[in-house]
Structures are given as C-alpha cells and as structure tokens.
C-alpha cells in the first residue's frame, strides 16, 4: 500500500461516509477532519514537493492489451495540495451555521457533502493519472462530479448545469478523439510513447492534436470561445460549493494542458508550428487566447450586479493569467502562472465564502440591495478586503507576486501587446473588485440591515485563516516557489532561482519581504502622523454633507447602480454578446436538423421512398 493508495483510499472513504451519513448534524465536521487526514496523507509524500520523486500506486488494470496505472509526481502533488486544501476549507465553511441554513431551505445536506467529496476524489484520480487512458477516465469523473455539485441548488442551477454538461461532453469527446489519434500513431496510451512519437509527427497531425487537446482542456478552463458556461454555473452552486469550484475546478484543465501539451509536446515543437500567412505560431495562439480570456470576462464582470456572478466571471478571467504564464514557458513566466494557480485558489475561495456569508445574513447577493455592512460584519469585511487586494494583485498580498512574475517575464521575453493586454485585464479587475466591496460593505447601511450580526464563527474562521495564508504567502513567496521549482524540474520547464523573499533577477528582481515591510512601515508612519494630532469623533452616517438638505434614513442616497457610467457609456456598444449569439445559432441549427430528420421518419408513403433508395444503390454499384 503506497502512500498514494492511502490518499486515494481516504478520499474514497470520505465520499462513502458523506453519502452514507451526510444528514447527521456533525457530518460536516467529520468530513472536514477526513479532508485534513487526506492533507496529512499528501504531506507524507512531501518529497515530491521539493524533489523529483514519483509515487506509484499499486492499482493498475490490464485490459485489451493496454495497462493503466496511476502515479503522483510533483506536478500532480502541487495541484493535489490545492485541491485538498480547497476541499478542507469549503467543507469547514459548510459544516457550521451555513449547514443549518442550507437544510432549513429544504435542500439535502447529504447530497452536497457527498458531491463535494466526490469532486475531491475524482480530482485526485485525475491528478494521479499515469497514462492517457487513465487521464481520460479521471477527466470524465471530474466533469460528472462537478455536474452533480452544480445542479444541486435549484431548477435554474440545473439548467446551467445542463449547459455545462453539453460543453463538458463535447470537450471530453475532443480529448477522446485526440487520445485515439495518438493511439493510432503510437499504438499505446503511455505518455512516454507520445513523447517519443512527437518528433516524428508532421505539423499537420500536431496541429490537429493541439486543437483537439487544447479545445478539450480549454472547455474545462473556460477559455474564450467556450467560456459562456462557467460564470452562471459557478454562481448558482450553493455557497461553499462555489468556493471549491471557483478555487480549483477549472484548474484541472490547466493541469491536463501542462501534462499533455507543455510536457509531452514541449515548447520546441510549439514554436515551430507556424500559422500560415501570419507571424503567429502555436505558442502565440495560446498566448492570445489567454489574453482574450483575461479581458472579455473581466469587463463582463464589470457590468454584473450580482456579487456571485461578478466573482465567477473573474474566475474565468484569471484563468487567462495562469495560461499566459505557463505558455511563455521561461522560468519567470511559468513560475508566475503556476503560482497564480495557488494564489487564485486561496483568495477566490475566500471571496466566494464572504459573499455567501453576506447571503447567509442578509438573504441577498444583489449589490444594489446591499450597503454599509462594514459596521455590522467587520470580520467578513476583512476577509473580503484581503481577498480583493489579492485579486487585484496589490503589493501586500500574494496575487501581486504571481502577477509581477508574469509581467517581468513578458518584459524579458519582449511581448509588448500581451503585456498591455494583461494590464488591461488587471485594471478591469481593480475596477470591478472595488465596485464589489463598495456596493456591499461601504456606503449607507440600509434600514433592513440595521440589526444584521456578524457571520457565525464556523464561517468566519475559514475565511480568516485563508486571509492569513494569502498574506503570509505574499510575505514569503519562497514557500510556494519551492514547490513550483520542483514542479518545473519534473515538467521540463527551466527552473526559477528564488529565495524566501522572492526572486533575485539580474535586471530588477523582487524581494517581497523588503517590499511588504516597506509598505507596512509606510502605513505605520501614516498612522503615526494621523493619530499624533487631535482626537476625531465618530459621527452618525446621516450627519453628512448633502448640499444643505436634512438627510433622513428612508431616503436611499447610496450610489451603487451603474457604477462606472462614463466608462460603460464609452464601451457599452462593444458588448454585442457575439459569443452568446453563436451558441444560440448552433442550438437552433441542431433543432432545425432534428425536425428535418423527424420529418424523414414520418414518411407515410414509404414505397416511393424505397424505390428511390434502391435506384440510388444500384446506380452507385454501376459507377464502381
């Protein structure tokens, strides 16, 4: 029983336990402990985090002349760490007050916990895949598990889950086609076989493979052309479920992309495959898809007025950064992209949790119905503040480090337009993230929220511990960079030389210990200056300047709807929903075809019809 078996067994045990005893009161807590146990089992394999070790599992199948086996290497160890961590925090969040609230609304808690456990288990199986066939099996399990957790909440959620399913199955079929093509070329499903066969393949087949695998994994990562399903589906998932999905679910696509395209096909071939009549090659294509994935969803998020929808659209946007970082494939960029996976998981989960804490207390996540909650829910505010600083990528938090690495590598590699595209994405994030915290926590407290209390400890503790992680990994990025350098070595990317505080780079490095302490010292001096002079007095929120008007609480003077009128007035006409139009055009085409086919089968007079078929068949014979 290798350590990997312990992990998979434990994960399966959690799934079975939650399925069996999900509805008992303390089911959530026990599930959280089980996730912690999984974390321990993972830590036992810490060797992979810091060195080129590989842990094989004893389970393997011998079927149809193919052997399927499962193993862990540092790439899967890194992703597994984030998956189990996200599972641990989401189930911890879902075990206290939130659980009673969820059950009070008539939903079955057992289904939710088992769906979460199934998700974690299927992701671990995917991460442990040893060859293309087990990769596909894990991939299908993951997409079905996330379908299950998405469709729990309501009929509307089930509608979005159905839409996700069609995308997922289409993606899976593309991957299966790719695997079968590889099998046809190399005769086996092993990774090594593919790696060996790649030099021999012509550019045409490689392009086909890239499109198939890229498309299939891209569907899960919600890259631009196929990004429509993710935001709505994640927004409708119940609170901690959304936190888990937002944190790690679409990163499985990135894991598989790294495994297949980066590790097996490798950058050499990617740069070589040029698109005719353009200066672009395969790597540029992936980079530009990443940049568009950064910009479009972020500016769609800007217009949302439902907090969950806004965060989900950011989920789609931030995947662009990870892909861009990984696709640059130099030591800085790939380290930035991979670290962004870890960073993003931490603060996205925290943001989703804080939004569901607000929904738990006020009943709504609509930004136009909220306001002024900072006085009532300070801890949730701190969690969201740390989250948005991380999401916007500002210095004290870890989001800054990964974005700095990506930008620094873009400058070093000399890709100006990608750099500008990435910055447009960041600025869009900063704008929409401020709108999120302003409309929900700042501004005028509404009458109906006057008596709202802070979220219970079972919800605030996970949030605050995640905030601590975000701050600490921001202060000492070296901790995460160690795992990433081990991962880079195993995947074959150039390894990043780093130290605890950041990266030492000849032409302008980054030392987060200095930068953060400098910033905190600056703010401390600001505070010193501020508090050294006269005492200030807290005044009532209605004691406010309103041009001489006597303010009263029933007049709502919070400015929250249509938050960036100038900008949206200018870029309003650019939102032409062209992707949604394309999707609905496809659906209506299938409808038309299906009605035509049904017409075919409703032929009442078959005789003429048969004569035609025979004539055609025989004439076809004569032509031969």
């Amino acid at each position: 029983m290798t350590p990997l078996d312990h992990l998979l067994l434990l994960s399966a045990l959690t799934a079975v336990f939650t399925l069996a005893a999900g509805n008992i009161r303390s089911a959530g807590w026990i599930a959280t402990l089980l996730y912690a146990a999984q974390g321990l089992a993972l830590v036992k394999m810490w060797g992979m985090g810091y060195g080129p070790e590989v842990a094989d599992s004893s389970i393997s199948f011998q079927l149809l002349g193919q052997t399927m086996h499962w193993r862990f290497d540092s790439l899967s160890w890194f992703f597994a760490l984030i998956t189990v961590g996200a599972g641990f925090f989401s189930s911890w969040f879902a075990s206290g007050g939130w659980a009673d609230h969820y059950r009070a609304q008539g939903n079955s808690l057992r289904l939710f916990h088992s769906a979460l456990a199934l998700n974690v288990f299927s992701m671990l199986v995917l991460l442990a895949s040893g060859d293309l066939l087990s990769l596909f099996i894990g991939w299908e399990l993951v997409s079905w598990a996330s379908f299950l957790i998405m469709g729990l909440a309501s009929t509307r959620a089930m509608g979005y889950a159905m839409r996700y399913l069609t995308y997922a199955i289409a993606g899976a079929m593309a991957i299966l086609m790719g695997i079968v093509m590889v099998h046809a070329q190399t005769g086996s499903f092993e990774f090594a076989a593919l790696a060996a066969a790649v030099p021999g393949m012509s550019n045409g087949t490689l392009w086909l493979l890239l499109l198939l695998f890229g498309g299939g994994f891209g569907v899960k990562m919600a890259l631009v052309p196929v990004h429509l399903w993710q935001a709505k589906a994640y927004a409708e998932t119940p609170g901690p479920g959304a936190a888990f999905l937002g944190a790690i679910s679409s990163r499985m696509g990135l894991f598989a992309l790294i495994l297949v395209i980066i590790q097996l096909v490798g950058i050499g071939r990617l740069v070589g495959m040029s698109i005719p009549y353009t200066f672009l090659d395969a790597r540029d294509l992936l980079a530009w898809v990443a940049v568009f994935t950064m910009i479009f969803p972020t500016y769609i998020a800007l217009r949302q007025h439902d907090a969950r929808r806004l965060l989900a659209w950011h989920g789609v946007g931030q995947t662009g950064y990870m892909l861009l970082g990984v696709v640059i494939m130099d030591d800085l960029g790939s380290a930035g992209g991979l670290m962004h996976v870890f960073n993003y998981a931490t603060y996205q989960a925290m943001l989703f949790m804080s939004v569901s804490a607000i929904m738990y207390r006020t009943g709504t996540a609509d930004l136009n119905q909220l306001g002024g909650l900072v006085t009532r829910m300070p801890l949730t505010f701190i969690a969201m503040l740390v989250g948005i600083i991380g999401l916007a990528g500002l210095p004290p938090m870890n989001g800054f480090v990964s974005k700095w690495l990506i930008y620094r590598s873009l400058v070093a590699e000399g890709m100006p337009l990608l750099f500008v595209g990435a910055v447009i994405g960041t600025l869009g994030t900063i704008l929409s993230v401020y709108k999120l915290i302003h409309n929900s926590f700042l501004g005028q407290l509404r009458l109906e929220h006057a008596k709202v209390e802070e979220a219970p400890w079972s919800m605030t503790l996970p949030m605050l511990s995640l905030a601590a992680i975000v701050f600490l990994t921001g202060y000492f990025p070296g901790v995460v960079l160690d795992w990433i350098s081990a991962l880079q070595a195993s995947v074959g990317l150039p390894v990043l030389a780093h130290h605890l505080g950041g990266v030492h780079f000849a032409q302008g490095g980054l030392d987060m210990i200095w930068i953060n302490s400098l910033l905190i010292a600056g703010i401390a001096i600001g505070a010193l200056i501020f508090y050294s002079t006269g005492r200030s007095q807290r005044v009532h929120q209605l004691d406010n300047y309103a041009g001489g008007h006597f303010l009263s609480a029933d007049v709502r003077y919070q400015y929250s709807d249509n938050f960036y009128p100038g900008l949206l007035h200018l870029i309003g006409p650019w939102y032409r929903k062209s992707f949604r139009w394309a999707e609905s055009a496809l659906v209506s085409l299938t409808d038309a075809l299906s009605l035509a086919m049904q017409g075919l089968y409703r032929q009442v007079q078959p005789s003429i019809y048969l004569l035609i078929t025979v004539v055609i068949a025989l004439s076809w014979v004569n032509i031969r």
């Binding site: 009458l447 006057a450 007095q537 009532h540 209605l542 004691d543 300047y545 009263s552 609480a553």
Partner: protein, 240 residues
C-alpha cells in the same frame, strides 16, 4: 504679498488676553499654530443672501484673496469661515445652522451686510431673522448694504488678527452655552427643531461642556428628538 501692510485695520477695543500655556516652548508652538491658522483660512462657498455677489471680485485678480491664504472651499467639512451674506430668511437660517454645525471647529462666522447685524433693510419683514448673533456665534460683522470687496477684505484681515492673537474663539460659545442658542432656534422653528449633528455629544467629546450647555431647551430637544435611524414609520407612510 507686497501690500498686505497697507490694508488698514479698524481699531477695536482689545478684549482680555486669552489664557496662555505656561512653558515657553508650548507657548511658541501655540503662537506658530495660531499664526498658521490665521494665514490659511478656507472660506465656505455658500451664498446665503444678496451680499455674496461681492465675494467673486474679492477672490479674482483685482483684490486677490489668495494672497491672504483664503481659498473658497465647497463643503462645510473643509471650510473654516462661514460668510453669512445678506438678509437671513428663516428658511435659509435652518440651512445656515445645519452647515455651521457640520463645520469642524475652530470655525468663524462673518456677518457681511447690515441685515445680519440688526435686520437691515428688511427689519420689519416677518420672514427674516433679525439678529444672527442669537442663533450662531458671530466673530466679525462687516456693515454696509453690500460692502465693497475692500471692506470685505479688511473684515477678513480683522478676523486674521483675532485668530493670530487668539481672540477668535467665538465658536466655543456655541458649545459652552448651546442652550441659549437652541432656545432662540426653537423659538423661531418650534419645539420639533432638530439637526442631524449631535452638538451635545460633540461638546462632551471635546470637553467644552459648561453648566450653560444643557438647560430646559436641550431637555425639550431630548424629549421630541426623532432618533435618526428609527424612521421606519415614515417609510411605511411613504410606501402606502
């Protein structure tokens, strides 16, 4: 800054010297702070009456107020001087009191035009408040039925002198005998008169409370004060 000395100041009997802190260092520091306060006054851009038409010429190139360090500011929060210009109608007086209470102290009121002194041209009118001094403490009066910019500047110059010598503390009177002012205000606006600013809490917070601060008028205020937040009833009235 060439001809600041040339603006002559109307001589007024010097009132008693304000209390000075004993140790010399603190006194020099207070002297410096008061000097800076006198040389940098933010004027609230709020035209309460007809006299305000004289302010733009005082600000622009001919009589440039900025050389005295006076800038027009938009909100009461940022302003130090409240210029009450022209007749003070009862409706405007409500807004003046609200604005005055929203200003951070030390704050100064300058009554421009004779209407603020004793009612001026509209002394018989039922609609104007005659004596501004009864409702908010006033530092300097500038008489004239719309005094010319030179007069306004010399008034401001007198105020600067008061501040520099430490006599410009009329704003403390508002806290110290708030009851007197509140009484006059209630007499004019009725018992239900209330402003969002909690002046009594502020007086308490900054240690300006004296025995005159609280009285029967403040008790009256306590009784029929409508707590700002609990306006649910009006909300329901509004929605039916």
């Amino acid at each position: 800054m060439k001809d600041i000395k040339k603006i002559e100041i109307i001589q007024r009997p010097p009132p008693p010297e304000p209390a000075r802190r004993t140790n010399p260092l603190a006194r020099v520091f207070d002297e410096l702070v008061r000097f800076c306060q006198s040389r940098s006054m933010f004027m609230l851009h709020y035209c309460t009456g007809c006299g305000a038409i004289e302010l733009p010429p005082a600000m622009t190139s001919r009589f440039d107020m900025e050389r005295l360090g006076i800038q027009p500011m938009v909100t009461p929060r940022q302003a130090d001087i409240l210029l009450v210009t022209g007749y003070v109608s009862v409706k405007t007086l409500k807004r003046i009191i609200l604005t005055y209470e929203q200003m951070p102290s030390p704050k100064y009121v300058i009554g421009i035009c004779s209407c603020t002194v004793n009612g001026g041209m509209y002394w018989q009118s039922y609609a104007t408040a005659k004596v501004l001094k009864d409702y908010i403490p006033v530092d300097v009066y500038i008489a004239g039925c719309m005094p010319r910019p030179e007069a306004v500047i010399s008034g401001l110059r007198a105020l600067m002198e008061d501040i520099r010598t430490g006599r410009g503390d009329a704003w403390k009177k508002y806290y110290q005998n708030y009851d007197f002012y509140l009484g006059n205000q209630q007499r004019l606006f009725g018992e239900k008169w209330q402003t969002p600013t909690d002046v009594i809490a502020e007086a308490h917070h900054y240690g300006m409370m004296t025995d005159q601060t609280l009285g029967e008028h403040t008790d009256l205020l306590e009784q029929n004060e409508v707590p700002l937040d609990a306006l649910r009833t009006r909300l329901k009235a509004r929605t039916e």
